[in-house]
Each structure stands twice: as C-alpha cells, then as structure tokens.
C-alpha cells in the first residue's frame, strides 16, 4: 500500500469540527500532493491545531472527511497512525527514561522491526549518541527537540506533522532542526503549523492561511506574492479569536 504512487498526500473535504454554535473548523477543503511541504498560518484560535489534530486522528471531524495517504482519518485511523509522525513543541518524551529507553519504548508501540539498530541509527542522526544513557530530564530544550524528532521518525512515517517545532529553540538548535528537515525533506510530506511567517515561507511548497476555521488563502509557493501574502496574513490576525 505504501509503495503505490499516491496522487494526493492529503485530501480534505468540507471538514467541519463544531461544538454547538462554535466552529473550530468550518468547511475546510484542500488537497496536497505527495512530498509537498505545507505551512499552515493563522492567528490564535483560527483552528490550526484542531486541523492537525483531526489529520492525526486525535479528534474526529463533526462532518466532512479527510484522507491522509488515501486513508480515512476515522475509518482507517489505526492503519494511518502507523504512517504518520508528529513533532510538537512539546517533546512528548518521558523525562524519567533515558534517551535510548524512550526510543525503545516508542518502537515497541509502533512495532518497529530491528528496534535496536533503528534506535542507534537515529540517535546518531540527531547527534545524541553520546547522551543515549542519560535521562531526558537532564536534556536541554534543543536536545529534547532533536530526540523528539528521532522519536517521530522511528517508524519511518510518510507524513510528518510539525506543530510549531521552532518555538522555544535557541538559534543553534534551530540550525540543527533545519538541517534534519532538509535531510529528509524530499522523502516525506510535511505539514507544519507556524507562527513564524519567514520560516514557514522559506520551507514550504504550499501555504495555507486559516482564520475562524476557514481557509483564507491556499496557494502553491510559486504562486505566492510575498508582499500580498504578508498583507493577507496581517489582516487575519486582526480578526482575533473566532
């Protein structure tokens, strides 16, 4: 299934997520080709996090549907979870386990073949080989984020979701994160939530602006006029919380 060429990585149709009259997502539809890099912008409360939560099966849509890699987020949730990864601003790691134990634990969860080899390989890739026996409690923010990336890549996901991965990182850690993303950039589809317009535009192949649960703008990078884009973004920020 994973080897077939996919025509779309994401396929979102009329996605609505509502509770009473409040709508976190209101009829969102878009498609994203494979190996693209989607940056999602929008003011606080625009529905960015909700969108990513629906796309990562953590929340069910109220109506409409979404497919990731051709799999439905509700019906094929378990299958889908094996093929997506999340890097959040929260490290999602147990502070009282060592780096290696953390990765080994999550490889059990994902049933990763040759877990030992895969963990060693990833620890080397994120340059944490020398700290593998230390508790992650003792790690700096940057190291945690690197380990968090290793955790997200354990099961070789095809779609990687990034939830404001740069927030709280020092410039050095940012460089390392940039390097890591660049390395795997072309074999994966990325979906990133970002507050940082420059960074988001620099990385993306597609950009999406969300406000009050609706798509304000969705364009491939080539079609975007930077100045106009910034203007649109700024106008949505003024709209405040939906």
């Amino acid at each position: 299934m994973g080897d077939e060429p996919q025509t779309t990585a994401l396929e979102v149709r009329e996605l609505t997520r509502a509770f009473g009259v409040r709508r976190a997502l209101d009829g969102v539809s878009f498609e994203l080709p494979p190996y693209a890099f989607l940056s999602i912008f929008g003011p606080n409360g625009a529905g960015k996090t909700t969108l990513v939560k629906v796309l990562t099966t953590l929340l069910n849509p109220t109506s409409g549907n979404a497919k990731v890699l051709g799999l439905d987020v509700v019906a094929d949730a378990v299958e889908m979870r094996k093929r997506i990864g999340l890097i959040s601003h929260n490290p999602l790691l147990y502070p009282d386990l060592t780096a290696e134990e953390n990765l080994r634990f999550f490889s059990e969860m994902y049933d990763v073949p040759d877990a030992r080899g895969r963990v060693a390989e990833l620890l080397e890739a994120v340059e944490l080989d020398h700290r593998r026996l230390d508790l992650t409690r003792t790690f700096s923010r940057g190291m945690l984020q690197r380990l968090s990336i290793a955790r997200a890549l354990l099961h070789r996901p095809e779609v990687i979701f990034l939830d404001e991965p740069y927030s709280g990182l020092d410039p050095h850690a940012m460089d390392i994160l940039d390097g890591l993303i660049a390395q795997i950039r072309h074999e994966h589809t990325f979906v990133m939530i970002s507050h940082d317009l420059d960074k988001g535009l620099e990385l993306c192949s597609h950009a999406l602006i969300l406000a009050r649960g609706r798509i304000v703008m969705y364009e491939p990078r080539e079609a975007i006029d930077d100045a106009a884009f910034r203007e649109t973004y700024r106008s949505t920020v003024g709209m405040g919380v939906a």
Partner: protein, 234 residues
Amino acid sequence: MASASMRQFKAMLRKDVVMELRTKEMLMSMGLYSLLTMVVYFVALSQAGAGFDPRDIAAGLLWLAFIFTSMLGLNRSLVHEKDQGCLEALLLSPVDRPVIYFAKVTGNLLFLLIVEALTIPVFAFLFLQGETIDLRTMALIPLVLVAGSIGIAGVGTLLATMSVNTSGKDFVLAMLFIPLIYPLLLGAVMATGAAIVGTPEALGVFWTGMAWVIGYDVIMLLASYGLYEFIVGA
C-alpha cells in the same frame, strides 16, 4: 493483533515500573503518607478507654489509609503521562485505547498492592500487638486486598485521567472518587473486618463482603473500560 497488543501492554507496564524504580516517587510518597496516617490514627485513638478493642475498627482504619494513599498515587501516575504530552504520543501510536487503560490500571494496581502489603504489618505492629489474631482467617486478607485494589485502580485510573486535566486536580479526584468507591469500601471493610475477627460466623460475612467487592469490580471495570476511550481522547 492480540500479540501486538500484548507486547504494547508489556512495554507500557515495563516503562511505568522502570520509571517508578528510578524515581520511587509514587511508592515513597504513598508509603510515607500511609505512615503519617498511622500517627494520626494513634492521636485519634489516644483517648479511647481501656475496654477498647482495636480489632473492631482495624479494617476501617486500614481501608481509610488505602483510599487516601491511593488517591495520591493515582494523581501522580497520570501527571507523569500528562507532563510532556506523552499521553498524546501514545494516542498517536497505533495502540488500542483499552490497552493503554489496562496498562495504566495494572501499573497502579501493582504499586497500590506493594504499599498495602507494607502498611498492614506496620499497622499490626503499632495497633494490634497483644491482641489474639487467628492467622488462618487472616490469611484471607490478601484476597480482599487484591479484589478491592482492582476496583480502586480501575475506577481511580479513569477518574484520574479526567482530574489531571482539571484545575484543582487533587480536590476534584477526591470529590469524584470517594462517593463512587463507597460500595466497594463498605464491602471491603466488611470482609476485612470479618477476617480479623476470625470467628466461624464471621466467615459468612467475609464471603458476602467479597461478593460485593467482586461484583463492584466487574460492573465498574466494564463501565470504566467502555468510557475510557472517550475520555482519553478528549
């Protein structure tokens, strides 16, 4: 699929045990807390007259200590998962939600039983010295302990999963947990009391109490298991 779930269950349980052995946070806090309750009990009973038989209320005192220490532990165990969003990471992985529930319940049950096993001798040493005790009926106490702790861990894990996401975690947990656990507590105290008294008639009371505890376990564990999926994803 079943074997994969089993492996995931074992991994989660091992993770909890390794973390606990490393920090000893739950065991230490629960153990010391139960020791502190003993001091409070001594003060509470200090004015009781000479005719007072501590065996009459031993069962109630023991379960009181267990209930309060268990709430402490339950909160801790779920705070671990919540702290850095680890629960979210678990939910993102292809694990069935019930596996998460049962792994957490088993972990909590394990720590609870360890603390209870340590508390009972200390309690007996402090309060029951010189009392005649029938060791044959006392041997039944582990049965109540296991059955009661299953209920506490089962219901408590579900409630703690909710209460960690609230403001004022400890109070909310107590407010939900104590009324809900009341039937189990009554049955468990009844059975434990009967085992301590140890007369032949008491044995009938013991099994009635046990039947209640087991019945409660079955009903409430099924309900909690059914509801956990909705709670954990919220």
